[in-house]
């Protein structure tokens, strides 16, 4: 027990001292997670709406595919994107491998099915009268869809936060596409994995505390949003 408490004390000291390496990993994590969630939302929200409302063939298959993609192992995503970005891959000439941009690409692929699926569920659970009401009041199809999304905005925000949760906590993509380069692509999770394997348990614990704090902050935001929505 002494080992845990000593490590925790050391971890808090590292956080309070503003350890450069700790905060570099935190900033890299937040940077790649925020950008990948922005891109995943730009793609995932419209996909979720289209699949929820679309009447095109193979709809069932598309839903199964989206569900399967949600559970895709992060290392598989990392592996596939690695293939595209490696020197011999189709986008190798861009020189993106082992950069934060490569992690953003991989994490976007990872988060998009999550955002799309949660959005789909939110739209499917919406009141069936929203679209006809908007249409009969003279809104265009696009305006009506915007209104529908506005009505289920809490569900869409939850979708985006679920996507954020998926990428902020993942290791596989960040490790394979970022390469865990100190002060460049080292994220909280890759740093925890590395430092713990080196025996630097306190360092890993410091990052773990911050990671948990970020998750808690996101959940507090979600709860507050839910309360203001239902008010």
């Amino acid at each position: 027990m002494g080992f845990i408490t000593d490590s925790l004390r050391e971890a808090l000291a590292l956080i309070l001292a503003g350890d450069r390496e700790v905060f570099s990993a935190v900033l890299t994590s937040l940077n790649v997670a925020v950008w990948s969630v922005i891109f995943a939302s730009i793609g995932g929200v419209p996909v979720g709406i289209a699949v929820a409302l679309g009447k095109f063939p193979m709809m069932g298959a598309i839903r199964v595919l989206l569900n399967s993609l949600m559970a895709m192992p992060t290392v598989v995503v990392g592996l596939v994107v690695y293939g595209f970005l490696s020197r011999m891959g189709p986008f190798g000439s861009l020189g993106l491998l082992f950069t934060p941009q490569a992690i953003i690409i991989g994490e976007t692929v990872l988060a998009m099915p999550v955002v799309a699926n949660y959005t789909l569920a939110a739209i499917q659970g919406a009141d069936q009268r929203i679209l006809p009401t908007a249409l009969t009041l003279g809104a265009s199809r696009f305006q009506s869809l915007c209104q529908l999304t506005r009505e289920v905005r809490f569900g869409v925000v939850a979708a985006i936060i679920a996507g954020f949760g998926r990428v902020i906590a993942e290791v596989g993509v960040a490790m394979m596409l970022g390469g865990n380069i100190r002060f460049l692509t080292r994220t909280m999770t890759t740093a925890i994995a590395l430092e713990t394997s080196k025996g630097e348990f306190a360092f890993g614990l410091a990052l773990g505390v911050i990671l948990m704090s970020v998750s808690l902050a996101v959940n507090i935001f979600l709860t507050l949003a839910q309360e203001s929505h239902s008010a």
Binding site: T133, T136, L137, A139, H229
Partner: protein
């Protein structure tokens, strides 16, 4: 009869494998009140959905102002700006009453100042002056229905379709609705109302169209004496001594 606003020819609407509406010929005259009467499942709501350009019939042709409707998305969107349907159980969007009432105007790109004025006028018309900033979701059932009516009125459409507007409303609300319908028709608006109650036809001076199992079973012309307003309507409008 006035000029035809709608003419429906050989219309058939199918839900699953059931024919929910089969109309050989129907004309809706411009600037008049029409009452669709029938029991549950008689096809009233299906017909209103077609008249509102929300649902395309599987067969037949709908003429609007003499022009056949192609049901192309762009054309339907343009036609829906000329026709407004008030659903039986209207949905109010989250946000304020003003946001709800202005929805159709904002969608049409009406200027902000005009929108505010029209919202105010529409709310006054349904007896909800000063309700602009109230949360729509915190209103009573009766107030919600009035807001939905104000929202439909604000659109100033050529045709107003009302799906069972008199169901489960108190006498004061029914009288208010009667007065709104009467004033709309006096202003040249075409009004189509669905109801179970055929007696409403005489009250509103409406042409009655009887539907049963998706077919037109009969039609009665509008009363030549015009509407026979209810006592409540006369009391509310201060005209109780005008009719003996």
């Amino acid at each position: 009869m006035s000029q035809a606003k709608y003419r429906l020819s050989s219309i058939q609407a199918v839900h699953g494998k059931t024919v929910s509406l089969a109309i050989d010929e129907l004309t809706i005259a411009a600037g008049e009140t029409h009452l669709l009467v029938g029991s549950n499942g008689s096809g009233k709501s299906t017909l209103l959905g077609i008249l509102a350009f929300l649902n395309k019939p599987q067969q037949g042709t709908v003429y609007f102002d003499g022009v056949p409707v192609s049901w192309e998305p762009k054309e339907c969107a343009a036609l829906r700006r000329r026709v407004t349907l008030l659903h039986q159980t209207p949905y109010l969007f989250s946000g304020t009453v003003a946001a709800n009432v202005s929805f159709g105007l904002v969608s049409r790109g009406v200027a902000k100042e005009s929108t505010q004025r029209m919202v105010r006028e529409s709310l006054e018309r349904v007896g909800l002056e000063g309700f602009e900033l109230r949360k729509a979701r915190q209103l009573s059932g009766g107030e919600s229905r009035r807001v939905a009516l104000a929202r439909a009125l604000a659109c100033k459409s050529e045709v107003l379709l009302l799906d069972e507007p008199f169901a489960n409303v108190d006498r004061a609300s029914a009288a208010l609705l009667e007065s709104v319908v009467t004033s709309l028709v006096a202003g040249g608006i075409t009004v189509v109302i669905s109801s179970h109650d055929e007696l409403l036809g005489a009250k509103l001076g409406a042409r009655v169209i009887r539907l049963e199992d998706g077919r037109i079973e009969g039609e009665s012309p509008a009363s030549e004496q015009g509407p026979t307003p209810s006592e409540e309507f006369l009391r509310l409008t201060g005209r109780e001594n005008a009719v003996s």
